[in-house]
Symmetry: C2
């Protein structure tokens, strides 16, 4: 994540993993989610914060979930079920259950199918927010599989040359195990920045950079400007740009990747594409590839180690200390935060304190 | 493709599809390729030109293939074989056969597996140039499947913050059928531009645009400059940037997508990753997803039509006539070129005339 989106060490309150997990679990239980599912949902959120993926952790999304459960948009006790399947595939109706809970179960199905036939894929329709896509992909790692996860989200991105939102941020995550190196874990939206980064930028008072957003008429904004207020453009949805920003820089590629996710994460689930307003707005897909269906697992991990080491020891360009690979900084954050606590913005801690009081659940984020 | 890469209508020589196909087939036969395989290889190249994908058609690649066959780098009669398989996967050793010939056969295997179990994937090691990735993905269309294709290519891209080439251009293609709309066909490199665009730019005398290449030290070049000569930087490999160009614009996403292709198109085939000099340098993968394993095919196509129509009727931004979707301009080019011939740069026609004379094969590109 860009440094500008990190809460500064001086501002941050370091919160213990166990206390955060306990509080978030209680929060989901209070929403009517059964205990086991609540702990699972909390695990998805807390892992995001442990790995430095603040956009998908406890800072932003519980506020939305609170609203969603309150108005009946998210079903706390979904009767999710497999509506069609083949030896390598399953189509799941989520019954408006949150992705944080249904997607890990779908990934278990995909993994079981991969055990049997080599590849397993489960697509989900009528779903709700997924949380960090990498969580579900990473479930494959300890099974010596490669995991993939996609989610087709409500429209926010203008297609190249367009002036109306047509695609979601549509992230893709891919996780592949290594030996001595931290596993490869990629997780990124097809927009220039993740949707929740707008919220983070506002909280941290940072700038929106060139190439991230389009003007009202669809023209890419190629200057920096302060993070807009929620009332920006009279409350109109902000028009996000695909990765690449302009056609010349390759925005049609970000646009195309978002389309792939709308197909493999949305349409093929039978639940439609992200922008369709008459439809439930989240489709997900998870895929597991059993490595020894393709080659020996040890050879795979040795090659991964060699490759990842070569990537991270690439000579850096001027002004940069080192070259990273996807999953490396997240693994470093995870090691630090498991030991030293998770840095949260004080505003987030305050929200939890107030919300815990209101919901009459224990607040375990600080000792005070 | 950006207009600057299209040969202008005034300059172009329109060549009939049948004549071009005949000449290219004869070319491959002359390289020692059996007749059926030669016709298949020609089909892959000619379809690229029909669909306006000049980078992967007859203009650039036969020169390279001529060299490859001559020096024994490409095996004209490969004994390719499946070295490991599961119900949904096959690992193929290409025996140095060209991807133009082996990948379609691998895709037939993937399709047959998808017929059986829902998804089929074939990975190829020890491969040679793939041609247009979309060709192999599109084979799924008439079988009511979604097709995907990836290829892990020799290093040319600097990772974000890096100053040395570590990833290939690593394209991904995805094809999905529709009903009345032209099928969705995405095919793009993870670099800002495809590798062969450098050759095209040089032939057409056009500029390299900001965000496409890095300086020798790895710094992104954010100004336009004339297409470099082959001796550019003393013959050093040109350092390409991932889509997104800079970290702030999202280059880590282009970098990450390239990594995904190195894993799913290279490492998992057992043939290693793109940059490894001690290894054969092309790995490929093809995947087929049988739509009715997930949902009803008619429903899928109806939804695709609705979605694709919404995309192409998006209100355009100022300065743009219309919004496209991946596969739409290619389908329009194909309709035009099948009827009116394929526009080639005169220099390309001259190369074929000379080469046909040299190789003593018939030249059928023009009547003259």
């Amino acid at each position: 994540m860009l440094e500008q989106f990190k809460v500064s060490e001086e501002d941050a309150v370091r919160v213990p993993e166990a206390g955060l997990r306990e509080t978030v679990t209680a929060f989901f239980e209070r929403m009517g989610v059964p205990a086991g599912d609540a702990a699972l949902a909390a695990d998805v959120l807390v892992l995001a914060d442990l790995r430095g993926v603040e956009t998908h952790g406890v800072s932003n999304t519980p506020r939305d979930y609170l609203r969603g459960y309150s108005v009946g948009e998210i079903n706390p006790r979904p009767n999710w079920r497999v509506v069609r399947e083949s030896p390598s595939t399953a189509t799941i109706d989520c019954d408006a259950g949150i992705g944080l809970v249904v997607a890990p179960k779908a990934m278990e199905i995909a993994i079981a199918k991969a055990e049997e036939v080599g590849i397993g894929m489960a697509v989900m329709r009528n779903g709700r927010h997924l949380g960090m896509a990498a969580y579900h992909a990473m479930m494959a790692l300890e099974r010596d599989m490669i995991g993939m996860c996609m989610t087709s989200t409500p429209e926010s991105m203008a297609p190249t040359f367009g002036s109306e939102p047509r695609l979601g941020t549509n992230p893709v995550a891919l996780a592949a195990p290594a030996g001595r190196e931290a596993p490869f874990v990629f997780d990124a939206a097809a927009t220039a920045i993740a949707g929740n980064k707008m919220l983070l930028a506002r909280r941290l008072g940072t700038d929106i950079l060139p190439g991230w957003l389009a003007d009202e008429d669809g023209s890419p904004i190629m200057d920096a400007f302060p993070a807009p207020e929620p009332s920006f453009r009279g409350g109109k949805a902000t028009l996000m740009l695909p990765v690449g920003a302009t056609r010349e820089l390759g925005s049609h590629k970000g646009y195309g990747w978002a389309c792939i996710v709308d197909i493999l994460g949305g349409i093929v689930s039978g639940g439609g594409y992200g922008m369709n307003p008459g439809r439930p707005n989240f489709g997900h897909s998870v895929t597991a590839y059993r490595i020894d269906a393709f080659m020996d697992v040890d050879d795979f991990k040795n090659t991964m180690d060699e490759w990842l080491e070569t990537l991270r020891t690439t000579k850096p360009a001027p002004g940069h200390e080192r070259v990273l690979y996807p999953g490396l900084p997240e693994a470093e954050d995870e090691a630090d935060r498991r030991a030293n606590g998770i840095p949260l913005h004080p505003e987030v801690v305050d929200w939890f304190r107030d919300t815990c009081a209101e919901l009459e659940i224990p607040f375990r984020l600080t000792d005070g």
